[in-house]
């Protein structure tokens, strides 16, 4: 990210700026909590930030300083927080990174970590594909439907207005439970829409199986998942 933009955002958010040893530039409020502000060419570096003291990852693309400040305030209200464009969230293993960081804060058995990663991955995939990119799932067992799905992903991620929509993940870590909200900026989702039919529709069923509870909020733009720890 250009130094000028980082300084501008950090000043707006009343936060100091530092450069970590691996070159990852960050703004932080206190030594116990570091927010990664993702500007340009950050995707190759982000794997080095999936651990404490990082607690938030905010992509600056198409965000004004005021919008970034609002995201920083939201991040401060959660244990972990990420806000990325659909295009970026589609290119990185966001669920894997967040679960690595969660397990850095709280030891979690491997089997439970696997379930957590799968549920979070499914929620993020729903937010990217069906929410922000407005792509229908694969509803039949036909190769033609896989081809249609494939073409939709390629073409919709090339549409700037859709690709810029945000995926937000907000994690609240408590003593014996973890609550995760995954939010998109799509048109919403009705829980009355079909479940597993043919090749698709298994995502929400998997989430329901792997979580203690899950609910759709804000007309389906947000899925709230709760896990016992």
């Amino acid at each position: 990210m250009p130094e000028e933009r980082l300084s501008s955002v950090a000043t707006y958010c009343c936060m100091p700026v530092r450069r970590s040893q691996d070159g990852f530039r960050t703004a932080h409020r206190a030594s116990s909590s570091v927010i990664a502000l993702l500007g340009l060419d950050w995707e190759d570096e982000i794997d080095s930030s999936w651990h404490a003291p990082f607690t938030a990852w905010i992509e600056l693309a198409s965000c004004s300083d005021a919008a970034v400040a609002e995201l920083v305030e939201r991040a401060a209200r959660h244990s972990l927080f990420a806000s990325l464009s659909a295009a970026s969230a589609n290119r990185i293993a966001l669920a894997r990174g967040l679960v690595l960081t969660i397990s850095d804060h709280r030891p979690i058995a491997l089997a439970q970590r696997n379930d957590l990663e799968l549920a979070l991955h499914e929620a993020i995939a729903n937010a990217i594909l069906h929410g922000n990119l407005e792509i229908d799932g694969i509803r039949t067992l036909n190769l033609a439907d896989l081809d249609r799905f494939s073409q939709d992903i390629i073409h919709r991620t090339d549409e700037p207005a859709l690709a810029a929509r945000r995926v937000e993940v907000a994690c609240s870590l408590e003593d014996d439970r973890l609550q995760i909200d995954v939010t998109d900026q799509g048109r919403g989702f009705s829980s009355g829409q079909p479940g597993a039919v043919g090749a698709g529709g298994r995502g929400l069923q998997l989430i329901a199986t792997l979580t203690r509870s899950c609910q759709l909020l804000d007309g389906g733009r947000c899925i709230r998942m709760e896990f016992a720890l």
């Binding site: 499914e122 067992l141 494939s150």
Partner: protein, 101 residues
């Protein structure tokens, strides 16, 4: 996800590695074509080096099974472990595809 295919007299063994997710739609499309076109009847996916599968990955495996059935080929999943074995179980894929340890 990456894959390599070893063809013997009896079967084609497809060795998968990495993570099989919705982003692998192009590779899965190519793999399905290769499996339907090679000359052996049984197509076996060796999942021992596969780390992760999501629900779209499961859906694409079901499409592969359907396509292979139309050309009278068998489709077998083998050596799944960890998260991959867990998701195959949760999704009850064993009802639809032969799964071998």
């Amino acid at each position: 996800m990456d894959y390599g295919i070893e063809i013997t007299d009896q079967e084609a063994i497809v060795r998968l590695s990495g993570r099989l997710t919705f982003n692998d739609h192009v590779k899965l499309r190519n793999l399905i074509r290769e499996m339907t076109q090679n000359e052996v009847t049984q197509q076996t996916l060796d999942m021992s080096n596969l780390d992760f599968v999501d629900s779209v990955g499961i859906g694409m495996l079901l499409i592969a099974r359907e396509e292979l059935a139309t050309v009278k080929k068998q489709f077998v999943l083998r050596h799944a472990s960890g998260q991959v074995k867990r998701v195959l179980t949760v999704a009850q894929l064993g009802r639809l595809i032969t799964i071998e340890d």
